[in-house]
């Protein structure tokens, strides 16, 4: 969630009340914001050096509150200090709109563009800083680091329409970038900003494209190279009177949202908001932008009342919705249906569910009647594998072993090489983008986690006896998700001697609890009907030669090999940096379901 810092004195003045920190925190809470910090209560020198700030966390979908203007406006409306403004477009006196023509070549790289003009805007230092900061927040959040949308702002009095939005090879684009003194072409610009802390991360959006997007005025003066940087020529200052905003994008919905948010937040500082005529015949995107007409939606009175548990009249709902910026224009067709005008600033409203929530917020979540209907009884049921696992867990602990909970993710070598196991491919689920090398795969065995836990507890007296009952994962191409989990039980003992008979004894105990009788291998192989488990020597590189055994069970006439136990091979101990002998057992519990 984005956090916005606003000047405390200015905001409280706008809200026409000297809120204490607690009162303002309460207001935020009710409205769905979170007051992170009031720096007037801080003792840090950097906070004391500047006027008190309120740091407010904004829900991720409220793009209309990413700056001081939006927070003040929405809270004022919520507190009924004003009604949400209605933004309208005004054509210039001449009647001639500024135009921007989109060339078809832009389809190759960034096809969409729209814009707006603020006439006679009055900037102050605070407004100007907020204007820049809002663009930055929009670029970070909604625009996904400028990939989907980017904004360029220009002093209209330094340039001359009509404007064109084109896509040209980088070498053919030459201009002085913002706050620089040297002319450079598109290619040089990429090199120049390669190491730049702010802009470097955006270069990859267009770098390898044969053409770069660029906006020109009628004198072929470059306005900007979206989504990287504007030109120095047209930059806005505190004295700028007329601002041209151009917005380029890959995503049309987000393009319009950004335009709407800029208008709703800063249009109020301008004498008039003037449309920009976009000419884009090749993709049928010719239009005057932005469209400032509110969105008409319908909401059912019954639905709102049912979900909130209230019995509000349409008039009551209307006045609650007004506090959230909506206008109810009445209901002509059906008294159950409200026609709601959703303002341009509220891109988060998608469905009548959002309108219903706004009613609930304006009413106060915490004032809603808290009644739970006693209508339905229900019958509980545990997941069978969890019930089975709990039996094994409780019995293992009762036998004197300590439960541990290592991580599911591990490195490839811990899971394979260190255990002398080979990855034949197609076994372990591999991660594409882990932040650390510690996490490469989903474990296929519980042993690495047990051994790492013992390693972390080397300072404790031996014997150390640990167990885990949890899931491992395998690739399984027959499944929809191409993988499956398997519930395993594993235990390990480290001591002065191997502890082989200890893990064997624990296995016997668990099998006894699971109603699986011990039988000899000979009997097990001879008699298909004889249910139970037996063990037989097996060659397994994880273990010391001659000291490992496979665990076999016969359940309902079917034979399964469910696991193996033995004395770990000294080379395994070396990899996990363990100085005493260890014996382990690991079995798959799924067959006992």
């Amino acid at each position: 969630m984005p956090t916005i810092s606003v000047d405390k004195a200015a905001l409280l003045k706008a809200l026409e009340k000297e809120y204490t920190t607690e009162e303002f925190d309460e207001l935020c809470f009710e409205f769905g914001l979170e007051l992170d910090e009031d720096t007037s209560q801080s003792t840090k020198p950097e906070d004391l050096a500047q006027p008190a700030q309120l740091k407010i966390e904004i829900p991720a979908n409220r793009y209309d509150m990413l700056c001081y203007e939006g927070i003040a406006m929405n809270l004022r409306v919520f507190l009924q200090k004003e009604k949400l403004p209605k933004w309208t477009l005004t054509a210039p006196a001449s009647g001639e709109l500024e135009t921007l023509t989109i060339k078809e070549e832009t389809m190759q790289i960034r096809p969409l563009c729209s814009g707006v003009i603020f006439r006679n805007i009055k900037f102050t230092k605070e407004r100007y800083d907020s204007f820049i900061a809002l663009q930055d927040k929009l670029h970070q959040n909604l625009a996904r680091q400028r990939t989907l949308v980017s904004i360029g702002t220009h002093d209209l009095d330094t340039i001359k329409g009509p404007f064109t939005y084109e896509a040209l090879p980088p070498e053919q684009i030459e201009f002085i970038p913002l706050n620089q003194t040297q002319t450079m072409n598109g290619k040089q610009l990429m090199e120049f900003y390669e190491k730049d802390r702010n802009l470097g991360k955006y270069l990859s959006i267009i770098r390898d494209s044969p053409v770069y997007p660029v906006i020109f005025d009628s004198n072929r003066t470059v306005l900007s190279l979206p989504p990287i940087i504007n030109s120095n020529h047209s930059k806005i200052t505190l004295d700028t009177k007329n601002v041209l905003i151009e917005i380029t994008a890959l995503d049309k919905t987000k393009l319009e949202i950004v335009n709407h948010v800029l208008v709703a937040m800063f249009g109020g500082y301008a004498e008039s908001i003037e449309p920009l005529r976009v000419i884009s015949p090749h993709n049928n995107e010719s239009r005057d932008t932005p469209d400032l007409s509110p969105r008409e939606m319908q909401a059912e009175v019954d639905y709102i009342n049912q979900v909130t548990g209230l019995a509000l009249s349409p008039a009551e709902i209307s006045s609650l919705l007004e506090r959230m910026g909506h206008t109810v224009t009445g209901s002509n067709t059906d008294s159950n249906l409200l026609d709601v005008s959703v303002p341009i600033s509220r891109a988060d409203v998608l469905h009548q569910a959002d309108i219903m929530e706004d009613v609930a917020i304006a009413y106060g979540f915490n004032k809603l009647p808290r009644v739970y209907p006693n209508k339905t009884a229900a019958v509980a049921a545990p997941l069978p594998i969890n019930k089975l696992a709990d039996i094994v867990r409780v019995e293992s602990a009762a036998a004197g072993w300590t439960e541990v909970m290592p991580l599911i993710l591990c490195s490839h070598e811990e899971n394979f090489e260190w255990l002398n196991r080979k990855d034949n491919g197609g076994t372990a689920v591999r991660l594409a983008n882990p932040k650390t090398a510690e996490y490469q795969i989903v474990r296929t065995s519980l042993l690495p986690g047990l051994l790492k836990t013992i390693n972390s507890n080397r300072h404790q007296p031996v014997p150390i006896k640990v167990f885990e009952v949890s899931d491992v994962g395998f690739i399984d191409l027959t499944k929809e998700r191409k993988s499956r989990n398997e519930r395993h039980f594993a235990a390990a003992i480290m001591g002065k001697t191997s502890g082989f008979e200890q893990v064997h004894g624990l296995l016997d105990r668990i099998m006894l609890m699971l109603r699986s009788a011990f039988i000899t291998r000979e009997d097990g192989l001879k008699n298909e009907q004889l249910e139970g488990y037996w063990i037989e020597e097996v060659d397994d590189d994880t273990f010391l030669k001659g000291h490992s055994a496979a665990i076999k069970v016969n359940i309902g006439g079917k034979h399964h090999t469910i696991g193996v136990f033995g004395i770990l091979h000294p080379s395994v101990l070396k990899c996990f940096d363990l100085g005493y002998p260890i014996s382990t057992v690991e079995i798959n519990l799924e067959v006992f379901l």
């Binding site: 609930a360 809603l368 290592p406 499944k479 993988s483």
Partner: protein
Amino acid sequence: MAGGTRGPVPVPLQAQDRNLTQEVLDLLDTKSPLQTSDDFSAISQRDIKAALDRLASRSMVEFVTNDAEEAVLTKEAETIVADGSHEFRVWAAVKDAGKIPIKELAKVVGAESAKVGQGNAFKHKWIKKDGDSLVLVANEVKDTTRELLQEVQETKSLSDAKALTDLKKRKLVTLTKVITYTVTKGPKYAKEMPVEVTDLTSDMLVGDAWKTTNFKPYNFNALGASQDAGALHPLNKVRQEFRNIFFNQGFVEMPTGHFVDSGFWNFDALFVPQQHPARDMQDTFFISDPPKADKPRADPETEAQLNAMEAGSKRLFASSETIETKPRDYEKYWKDVQAVHQEGAFGSIGYRYPWSEDECLRLVLRTHTTAVSTWVLHRLAENPRPARYFSIDRVFRNESVDATHLAEFHQVEGVIADFGLTLGGLMKFLEDFFAKMGLENLRFKPAYNPYTEPSMEIFGYHKGLKRWLEIGNSGMFRPEMLEPMGLPKDLRVYGFGLSLERPTMMKYGVDNIRELLGHKSDLRWIREQPAVRLEKD
């Protein structure tokens, strides 16, 4: 003396092979009270105390502890007592020689005395300078320092407190604390330790020997024998408490047995747009192998498992009415999910972006168990009815690891579906749910979550910390999530969730999540954590 020993334990060797216990008894026979400082001055305080404790625990002696300060001479002071103070030594040397060149003084009395003693002897007007030499002034002198130190040596104290402080400052005397004991006979005094046995044995039961046996007193100030116990992990103990709460409320556990899920179940079906930050490489683990999921399709195995689990409620709620189930149409579900994102549908304008099938079929490590709730709710559409489901299982986030974040944690999640549910009903349910954990007075904050509307963060007042804490998230699932599943419009669904780690860390006072989950947990810590009673602790 079968089965017994004289005295409680073999006499420790450290006490110079002496049986102190017996010596104390012997001496008390003739001298009571006795002073350990005088009568056992060569024995260390620790040894004499051990012997007295043994006797006192049997009421054979009684003793009082005396704390005293003792003045002790330093090495330098001991030489002063033996040879006189530095100034005295200088005076004596000058007296002997009549006249000593200053340069020669150190040779005669030593460097230390020459340095310190010369000045003092001047000050006392015992000697004076005569050109380059020292000559006598006083014929007789009184060496006060030596006399004071002699008194200290004899009495271990000094009557003149000011002088004592002065000597301490001059590093000639140190003060040490001395503990001594005044010992008298106790009510069960005897000249010998009685024969005692440490424990009741089967032999004693045979011949009634136990009746006359003198049992050694038990030390009630020590712990009993270590139990070599096994233990369940604290996190799983808290998990069990949560499961019990859910079972008591009639919840059915969800089949969470797959860490890997598709973008479809983890995100798209939940109406999380494909450009949502949660779907960034920064937050979600994507899978490189296997490469891609299948489109959603029937899963008969998991289906059968849930059918078996719900057989009980089916039997209980059976009526003569035949219930029509409408089989799920996965292809329609897929198309409807696409439509609700891309064009808008079911009364929603949607997100209006080009929806990508590839993105939807990317495999991820599930970021929440809500992916499983989605599957279960889609199944509910076959026969929409009131239902309650829960799960507690591992989820994964591509986080940078620190004291409060791990790449893995456990999510506790509950889902309640019913007709005509209200938002206040969810609050009421959660009040009851958290009251079982001892958290009263909940407050709810409007919040944003892509798949719930309304969404509420749950805040509880922590009495210990004296502030409101966010303890979970909740909401009612969006129509854009439920209606593509084929659920009827008036069936509403609550969802709520919290992490298992956070309440566990609060209950057990753990600051670092890595000590709780993962291989860095301390085994002794695991074993020593008490049982959890959420409603009490």
